[in-house]
Symmetry: C3
Subunit: 211 residues, 3 copies
Amino acid sequence: MEIFQHMQFVDLIEFFGTFAFAISGVRLASAKQFDLFGAFVVGFVTAIGGGTVRDLLLDVTPFWMQNPIYMWCTLFALVFVMIFRKHLVHLNNTFFVFDSIGLGLFVVVGVEKTIELGYPAWVVITMGTITGAIGGVIRDMLINEIPLIFRKDIYALACVFGGVVFTALYALDVNLFINEIASASTVIFTRFMAVKYHWHIPILKGEQNKQ
Amino acid sequence: MEIFQHMQFVDLIEFFGTFAFAISGVRLASAKQFDLFGAFVVGFVTAIGGGTVRDLLLDVTPFWMQNPIYMWCTLFALVFVMIFRKHLVHLNNTFFVFDSIGLGLFVVVGVEKTIELGYPAWVVITMGTITGAIGGVIRDMLINEIPLIFRKDIYALACVFGGVVFTALYALDVNLFINEIASASTVIFTRFMAVKYHWHIPILKGEQNKQ
Amino acid sequence: MEIFQHMQFVDLIEFFGTFAFAISGVRLASAKQFDLFGAFVVGFVTAIGGGTVRDLLLDVTPFWMQNPIYMWCTLFALVFVMIFRKHLVHLNNTFFVFDSIGLGLFVVVGVEKTIELGYPAWVVITMGTITGAIGGVIRDMLINEIPLIFRKDIYALACVFGGVVFTALYALDVNLFINEIASASTVIFTRFMAVKYHWHIPILKGEQNKQ
């Protein structure tokens, strides 16, 4: 299939995306005094959680059970954090770039997998967003924090935008590779702009604020 | 099938139930300063979480992936809270009625779906309870609170009672529509009485209380 | 099949393991002032959570939906805690033994189920670890605590060791019963030694420790 013609490039990007997601899990776990095994688990769940929930909902075998690369990638992230921990704070911008590119690719993987199973656009967009955003939600639940994406940045909304672009271009029969670049770029660009210009989704003011 | 003859009435009730469940999620999210997207997600998960866990356990496609009405219903709930937020506290009794009716219907939907798949009574009752009660549990985990249903009211036990009534009347070959009304009413009546007369399940005194 | 020849012995061990896992859930729930229904749910989820996540990932019917024994076992654990709550603290060593034996057996059940489905060794070991360790993680999320296994003891690592032993002996065509005893013993022995000699996995020192 056309999708697999540019597999190697995608594999490389996916590796960096998984790595960046795992790094974010490992770092947050270390801030909570988790042991090495716990940090590995949190890093792994951050990287594969979104795709796993998507695959369970779609009733297909979870992707990470078919290839050990995601576990090796998490192990590599753990070792990386152990070795370079004193210098990681200087690499925050680099991780942000990796993380955003990974997010864009995760969304594309999610929407493609769902559209091939014949689901309508709104399910496709939802699954793309779940693929990109739920890993971080499970990570935050494991470390006992309120999920960050519900309160900061426009992380999940960037996934929705990417999914909308993909389903629109797909309906217009645009070449798949161009579509992938366009929809992943939408996710990445939205996230970059949101962070650069401090875009936030308005907070829902509740009646509780008056009490 | 007989079940689908009164579909329109059930659809209407289900809409109000979903709406009431989503409202409860959106309101609790707003109290935690979630942004609009986060409030939407929490509202949606509250409304569809129980049925989704049930469908994953039964290995059928999650119900909300087959009809966008549940997402629209959650969006409607979000807009409703935004517009009427200063008046919501006066509507608490109305929401309680909606929420209880929705709970009764969710339980009936859960038990029927499970009994049609050929499971024994104890699985049927368990799935009815999961359908009704787990959405609120996931909601409370997302907002980082100890699940309310484990400490207050007899919410989940009302679901169990409804499931017991359904399986008993089903075994007695009672007309399905009458059975649905009877079992949903059992859930609603139990919940009403529990709140009105402050019924609580005894707290389990642990050895820790002595320390 | 050979596996089922020693079924009765395994059933008995599994009953005690489930009972010990449920006891740990009920006791922690009681320390958080959960009501009896909440304590039952937490006990049940502690006992069946790991195997349920495994079965969802493997796309087979969750084991506890095929036999009500796990619910009865949890109910028995709840009644046991209610009756003997003042004396439980003196039974901590006994529970530790039950819990460890149960852990060893849970891991063996998980690796056997996965290996029969044709998965490679690394998936088999992962599923054994998930079967043994995830119930406690969900328990801790329900009571709003940071999962204990990520910070204390070498609980999950003991499961990994047991899975490694099983897959190694399985590859060497060792008799299945001997393999089960050897791999379960590995889990139990590792856990005993870790507690006796205060073995811990090193904590991942993060950059945050400097702040």
